[in-house]
Amino acid sequence: MDVIFNQLFVGLSIASILLLVALGLTFTFGQMNVINMAHGEFIMAGAYTTYVLQTAFGTGLLTLSFGLALPAAFLVAGTLGLILEFLVIRRLYGRPLDTLLVTWGVGLMLQQLARDIFGAQNVSVSAPGVLNGGMEIAGVSLSYSRLFIIAIVALVVVVIASYMKRTPAGRRMRAVMQNRSLASVSGVRTRRVDRTTFFIGSGLAGVAGVGISLLGAVGPTIGLNYIIDAFLVVIVGGLGQLRGAILAAIALGMANSFIEYGTTASVAKAGVFLLIVLFLQWRPQGLVVQARRGLAS
């Protein structure tokens, strides 16, 4: 029984990280069909933002610097996203493969930039005191930093969902995604909606970076560890579907956790990939489907 609880928590924890890195992509990839390979580097930028704030405030104010890191990383990564959208991506809408190559190159440049600024060595972010240790429930030890990541994800999901459903701005975003021509002749400034969508999506990558900085060392290539998983979550979930991404992240996290138990991490990774391939053969459109602008159009 303990084993099952333990693996459930591990699965949930993996799921929360997967979802955290994928949430931004539900906007840029899911809503706008932009394959932004530099998304991983936006995650990196968020992680480094945490590091910079921590260095600036000193170790005495870890909790404060960590609390500030969440909005700061959102702004930093969001601004990077806005710049990328303005300089590159707006010229490449409707050309997903070109975007893929160009943003991959931008990602490499950002990695080098991080190396130049912070050095090639990894840096470490210390978790604030309140997140050290953990608690034990039914024989399973739950670490506070893992629980904190789950809490961040839950919070971000609630904020995004209410933004999309309740505010006129979120409705416009959905409207532009569903029918760009109709939205534009209804008076929606579609270019501004594009920019806003990209800003939010990129900013969420920054928030993911803050969470990830709790899990290990922060280095220039940290984004590479997450970018593929993030795309997989969005694809398995169904493009542009928040609900789909949540379900997909949970499914992949649990699969990973339970396959890993009794085998190894590598076997689990391979097993999950195999499951994804099989699943996409059966349901190429993902878990949750919605009519949308086609990728090829």
Binding site: T167, A169, S181, V185, S186
Partner: protein, 256 residues
């Protein structure tokens, strides 16, 4: 004659070597209801597309109430008071009927207020839903509406913006007889309230019943203009329709 609302001069829209609109002139006056007919590929929809900037004209000028429209962005054109519908019913399927109209109604909203939740519905939104008989369906997703209701919803979305010029692309296609009648009455009523209306229509029965002045387009040009009776007796109009076998049905109707 009342004042000129829309003035299209020497308009050319070229897609490569093909001229979808070829040196076209068109003038619409205030309060006018103008029907535009013509065989498939005559450039009727392209005309509306270039007025609303969904298609960029190659040359020429489109002036609305004296203001040049070419070069303006789509939302700027909406703000000058031009609304349109599409040939294929185009609504935001995943949003509710009310949300659809609300998006159109909020076209003048400032950016900041876009983040506020708003409660209740404004009079204009309620009124426009009422004018197309969709008040009862307002919380249903627009995708679940019937074909005709979707077209009405599109009309409601345009009406809520109180346009001075309304461009309707085949508004009654696929509607039942009762729905057509209602739509025709609605168009007449909109015009009486001071809006200039341009209607592209294939259904000659509908054109005969509600049109005063008809413009016939053919191969990107204006073939002729006049009353329904004038147009029906025009030799060139007969030729255009009869010369193209695939439009035989249209020809039969046009000449009936």
């Amino acid at each position: 004659m009342s004042s000129v609302m829309l003035e299209v001069r020497n308009l050319v829209v070229a897609f490569g070597a093909f001229h979808a609109i070829d040196d076209l002139d068109l003038t619409l006056h205030e309060h006018e209801v103008r029907f535009v007919i013509g065989p498939n590929g005559a450039g009727k929809t392209t005309l509306i597309d270039s007025i609303t900037n969904l298609v960029r004209p190659t040359s020429g000028s489109i002036r609305f109430a004296g203001e040049e429209l070419i070069g303006k962005s789509e939302h700027a054109i909406v703000r000058t008071g031009i609304g349109r519908t599409f040939q294929k019913p185009s609504v935001f399927d995943e949003l509710t009927v009310l949300e659809n109209v609300d998006i159109a109604a909020s076209f003048r909203l400032r950016f900041r207020s876009l983040l506020k939740r708003r409660r209740g519905i404004s009079d204009e939104v309620a009124e426009s839903l009422d004018s197309v008989n969709l008040t009862a369906q307002r919380d249903e997703p627009a995708g679940s509406l019937s074909h005709g209701q979707k077209q009405w919803l599109e009309v409601a979305m345009v009406l809520v913006q109180r346009p001075r010029l309304l461009l309707l692309d085949e508004p009654v296609a696929g509607m039942t007889e009762k729905e057509r009648l209602h739509t025709g009455e609605l168009i007449t009523q909109i015009a009486q309230q001071g809006t200039t209306v341009l209607v592209i229509e294939h259904d000659m029965d509908f054109v005969r019943r509600f049109a005063h002045k008809v413009t016939v387009m053919h191969e990107g040009k204006i073939l002729t203009e006049g009353t329904v009776a004038d147009v029906q007796q025009d030799e060139t109009v007969r030729e255009v329709y009869l010369g193209r076998p695939r439009d035989a049905r249209g020809a039969a109707e046009a000449l009936a």
